[in-house]
């Protein structure tokens, strides 16, 4: 393969990977907790979720930069208890989060670790 063909093929692969398909809106449950991200920040900085039971978490990425929601064990960080898929926006995903222990958890974006928020698990 000629080098120019190789480079063109490589760039094509990158472009294909970056084109995101729109997320299905049909499976978004009503009244589900929702987190939004825009301008390299979580616009939802605090969200309440149920404790002790699995739940659906809606994450809307409103911009072209890739983001995800990673829920950590402690209010100040700690180990990850759930990490959602990273995707580029504008798009919405519904994460199926396993049961969390009651209390306050921090959530962050894995790509941009300075993007953080607080998730309160309670009844």
């Amino acid at each position: 393969m000629r080098p120019t063909c190789f480079v063109v093929a490589l760039l094509g692969l990158v472009l294909a990977a970056c084109s995101s398909a729109p997320a299905s809106q049909a499976s978004i449950p009503p009244n589900a907790p929702k987190i939004e991200a825009n301008n390299l920040a979580f616009t939802t900085t605090s969200v309440k979720v149920p404790a002790g039971a699995a739940f659906a978490l809606v994450f809307e990425n409103k911009e072209g930069a890739p983001h995800n929601v990673n829920i950590l064990a402690e209010p100040s960080g700690g180990s990850s208890v759930f990490a959602g898929d990273t995707f580029t926006g504008p798009a919405t995903r519904v994460y199926q989060v396993p049961a969390l222990t009651p209390g306050t958890h921090q959530f962050k974006c894995d790509v941009h670790p300075d993007m953080t928020g607080t998730l309160v698990a309670g009844s």
């Binding site: 480079v7 490589l10 760039l11």
Partner: protein, 168 residues
């Protein structure tokens, strides 16, 4: 297979198609990685994109100053790309675009090593060449140098280098 011509700025330009091919792949990978980092947003990624862009331009631009520093640009791009990969291994997010970018960077390193080998010889000799470049050794380099033997003849790649580096 190569040819030479006088360039726009009165410099001798190499037309070695092997060199052109190697550098095209390196430049393509550098630009692709710059673009990917630019799409990620944030200061760190933007600076990373700017680094890739600047080094890629310095690697291909046909200016005397850039041409004289090409060997250093190659080493800088090698170090920059390696540092980017290591940084990602330690603290980077794992998602499809990141894996694609790392694959591009690995390809870049492979072709860059080939370009370094072509232009500067085996990479393990490069540190010795860098030491030879230090100002403290300049007086020694001013001594008469032996005529290159037939097996140590300057190649097209040497045209990229400053005159005092042509001596093996």
């Amino acid at each position: 297979m190569g040819a030479q011509r006088i360039g726009r700025f009165g410099t001798v330009e190499s037309r070695d198609w092997g060199e052109v091919g190697l550098r095209a792949v390196v430049a393509g990978c550098g630009l692709a990685s710059a673009w990917i980092h630019l799409t990620l947003g944030g200061l760190l990624f933007t600076m990373n994109a700017a680094g890739y862009l600047a080094l890629t331009i310095a690697l291909v631009v046909r200016l005397d100053l850039a041409r004289r520093a090409r060997w250093l640009t190659r080493l800088a791009l090698l170090g920059f790309t390696s540092a980017t990969i290591v940084g990602w291994l330690f603290m980077g997010a794992r998602f499809p675009l990141a894996y694609i970018d790392k694959a591009i960077e690995v390809v870049l390193i492979g072709f860059l090593l080939a370009d370094i080998w072509r232009a500067d010889g085996p990479p393990w000799r490069t540190p010795l060449r860098v030491i030879r470049e230090l100002p403290i050794r300049r007086d020694e380099q001013a001594k008469p140098q032996p005529v290159p033997s037939s097996t140590n003849r300057p190649t097209n790649a040497d045209i990229d280098e400053p005159p005092h580096r042509k001596v093996a």
